[in-house]
Symmetry: C2
Subunit: 476 residues, 2 copies
């Protein structure tokens, strides 16, 4: 074995930043995922799944330097590894040419770029899959986590922006959220503010990173960061005043009073001196479209919103709730990304998307106790308990109950009835009903059903068990 390998104690914990999902966890996750899927399908999106493993040539350079650092890479094997280890010096790039999926947008771009798939011109796809980032774990932040994405490729129509925003809003409303905010801004509005503040366009990206932190570090914090990044005090003051005009004086207040995106946009327009007019018009119209959808009342103009990813070219979105640092999801228009996968470099596919973070949604729903027990219950309806009967008869009766659609677990070993009933009711089993099979019942082709919570009990023909349970006064 290798020189660096030590004898390790075998741990039963999952690796740091990852989790085992026990049955109760799956109950909650499946509940949310099912509802996301139903809403996305109602909006006409169709499902796509891409491999966990992608070539590094697909992934690298799409997520910025930090993203490249957070990629999981798969170590070469056998001959490829031997060859790499003979190099001197050996570098990271020699040791891997594949990695794990980092988001769902770049794989979509690769798929849409693959002309052999013959996808429709307007590809409305949803994708609900895990992604991996070698990031520092935290509350609602994991190294393996699920994204729930909708994207529309192939059109510059604002209907696309409206559809993705409406779909994610309806997801959240369906899940019981009432107080989220869809923050909306536009890449070109950001640029217009940068220009209006007299900031060199070379500093644009850097300045926007600072502005994006307004919520976290406040006005003074942003000013300090802008100075550190080489923005003059005058420019910083102007930029902040623009951001705050649209925000605090406009929609941020307006939101509570029913003033929409349009009003915030118009406020900023008066300060921009003709800069960014097309983008402002676009946001104004998007606001009008969204008024006709479930997103309407949740929309806010957010001039400070920049989002990290550099591939956005138009409208950008982010959903926030008061009790979660960070966002429940985000997205925007990216008209240049898919062209990167065109061999000739000419085919542009204008696209817009929105991504919801499953774990972020779950953490808020759990903390707010938004789940109802009956909606997320997993496990059997019935535990089949037995005494003084042969195993073949037990297996046969279980089959008879299952044939009626009941979910049936069989107590597998000989034990006193009290112990079996106690097991039915124990944590992790939680069977609401015990079906008791003894010599008498077996001889008569019957079974004794016991509703464990209400104590209600009846002896019935095996073939009628499901109907009897359905007719019980106390629901199971």
């Amino acid at each position: 074995m290798g020189s660096g390998k030590k004898k390790q104690k075998v741990s039963t914990k999952p690796p740091s930043g990852t989790r085992d999902f026990l049955p109760a966890d799956i109950g909650r996750r499946a509940y949310v995922i099912d509802r996301v899927r139903q809403v996305y399908e109602r909006y006409g999106f169709v499902p796509l799944e891409t491999p966990t493993i992608e070539n590094l040539s697909t992934l690298l350079g799409k997520y910025g330097d930090e993203g490249d650092q957070l990629l999981y890479r798969l170590l070469h094997r056998r001959d490829n590894l031997s060859r790499a280890l003979e190099l001197d010096p050996v570098t990271e790039a020699d040791l891997a040419d594949q990695g794990l999926r980092y988001d769902l947008t770049v794989p979509l771009a690769r798929v849409v770029g693959n002309t052999s798939y013959n996808l429709p011109k307007f590809f409305k796809r949803y994708q609900i899959q895990p992604v991996w980032r070698a990031d520092r774990p935290g509350r609602g932040r994991f190294r393996e986590f699920y994204q729930c994405d909708v994207d529309i490729t192939g059109t510059t129509s604002l209907v696309a922006e409206a559809e993705v925003c409406a779909a994610v809003a309806e997801v959240l409303v369906t899940l019981g959220f009432e107080d989220f905010t869809i923050n909306i801004n536009h890449r070109e509005v950001l640029r217009a503010m940068i220009r209006a503040a007299g900031i060199d366009l070379d500093l644009e990206g850097s300045a926007l990173v600072a502005v994006d932190k307004l919520d976290k570090i406040g006005e003074d914090g942003v000013k300090k960061e802008l100075a550190e990044r080489g923005v003059s005090e005058e420019s910083a003051t102007t930029l902040l005043s623009l951001v705050l005009v649209g925000s605090a004086e406009g929609a941020r207040v307006g939101l509570a009073e029913g003033v929409g995106l349009a009003e915030g946009v118009e406020l900023l327009r008066t300060k921009l001196d003709g800069e960014g007019t097309a983008a402002l018009d676009e946001l104004r119209q998007l606001g009008e479209l969204l008024q006709r959808t479930p997103a309407g009342t949740y929309v806010r103009f957010a001039p400070e919103l920049a989002r990290g990813l550099s591939y956005y070219t138009g409208a950008i979105f982010e959903i926030t709730v008061a009790d979660l640092q960070g966002s429940l999801g985000g997205g925007g228009r990216y008209d240049g990304l898919i062209g990167m996968f065109d061999a000739k470099g000419k085919k542009q596919v204008p696209s817009v998307g929105f991504s919801l973070g499953l774990e972020r949604i779950l953490v808020v729903m759990e903390e707010r106790a938004m789940f109802r027990a009956e909606e997320i219950r997993v496990g059997p309806d019935v535990l089949l308990c037995w005494m003084d009967v042969d195993l073949a008869s037990i297996v046969g009766v279980a089959h008879g109950l299952r044939a009626q659609g009941l979910r049936v677990e069989v107590f597998p070993e000989k034990a006193k009835l009290g112990k079996q009933l106690g097991y039915a009711d124990s944590d992790g089993v939680n069977a609401p009903i015990a079906a008791i099979l003894g010599e008498d019942e077996l001889a008569a082709g019957e079974i004794t059903l016991k509703h464990l919570r209400s104590g209600e009990q009846s002896r019935v023909k095996i073939g009628e068990a499901s109907a009897v349970i359905a007719a019980w006064k106390t629901p199971v």
Copy 2:
């Protein structure tokens, strides 16, 4: 960048051995997975999901040397990588301490070994997740593929064997399979045959690998392999005669004539001179139990069945169909594996499981044309087509249709009606209905619905669209 890195052309293909699942693929996959899940839940199994990433200390040494070779390993990052690259020589073990999930059984063993989870004494879990093996791709063989596992931990009761076999049999019957075989053998029956043939127990594993290939390489091939592995000709002849007694003369013929597992077992018993009696009794009783379940008619005694994995301790299973080399799934009893995750090395958790391979099932179902189009259809019910109306009205009407439960895609751009209708009917969209919104309809709060296949058409109030469609003579 690293010395080994070359400028790569960005490919739009997924990596070798992996696949993109387009919407139609997902339709088939989701159909199968949903049915697997429903049956498994009817049998009282509860869901578990484990992380994609596992510590190598969990994975290594569980799957044999070949398995260790096929593990995907995750390259260390940053400081860990730098430190490793300073070693001389650098080995594989220095470069990674995590890898990708290789099967679902070892992660289950880790989870059951984790006492902090407070799992029930008899943990009946199902798990449907992908696994990764750096294997040579082939027909129905991929590097990323899904397993659909059921396992029952915590009991030696034969009810557990019967339940897992019955569950997978019912899955296949539910999917429309009529002609599969559940091959059953027992670790101790194999050992008894080895002993009865006078083969040194040191050669047991090696000899069984040869016997397991009977279906593929025939009697002469097995004899040749046994000789190469150091088994005397006399022992090889005896071993093969034992394997064939149970198989060709017994159940293999008997299967077609309705003779069950029990008869095959009794035939072999007469040749084993008292060896393996307990195991033969167990198989006989298992056969009796299975007669009471949907597995009954599909069971065959398979004395040649060895299966590669060394952790099996009791009954072993494998499902085959005539038109697929390899198996649809397999499993068995493994009473020692979970104890490997007990820190004190004392806690044994007897367990039995069965694993179905999703891709194997899919490849057979596709080749046999077992899918019905209406069961696997994905995509919108309605494409909303429009002329001479404003975008906000279109978005509003789409919302009105979705509120009735319809799955609605909006044609996003201005285009002639004929083009829009053609798009609705095109590959990859396949919307069965077009909803046409013009000035007239909008003014009247109506919509024109057109059934694209039948040509049936009616103009209706927007709020009544779903009811009208449901009442159409031609189903959508």
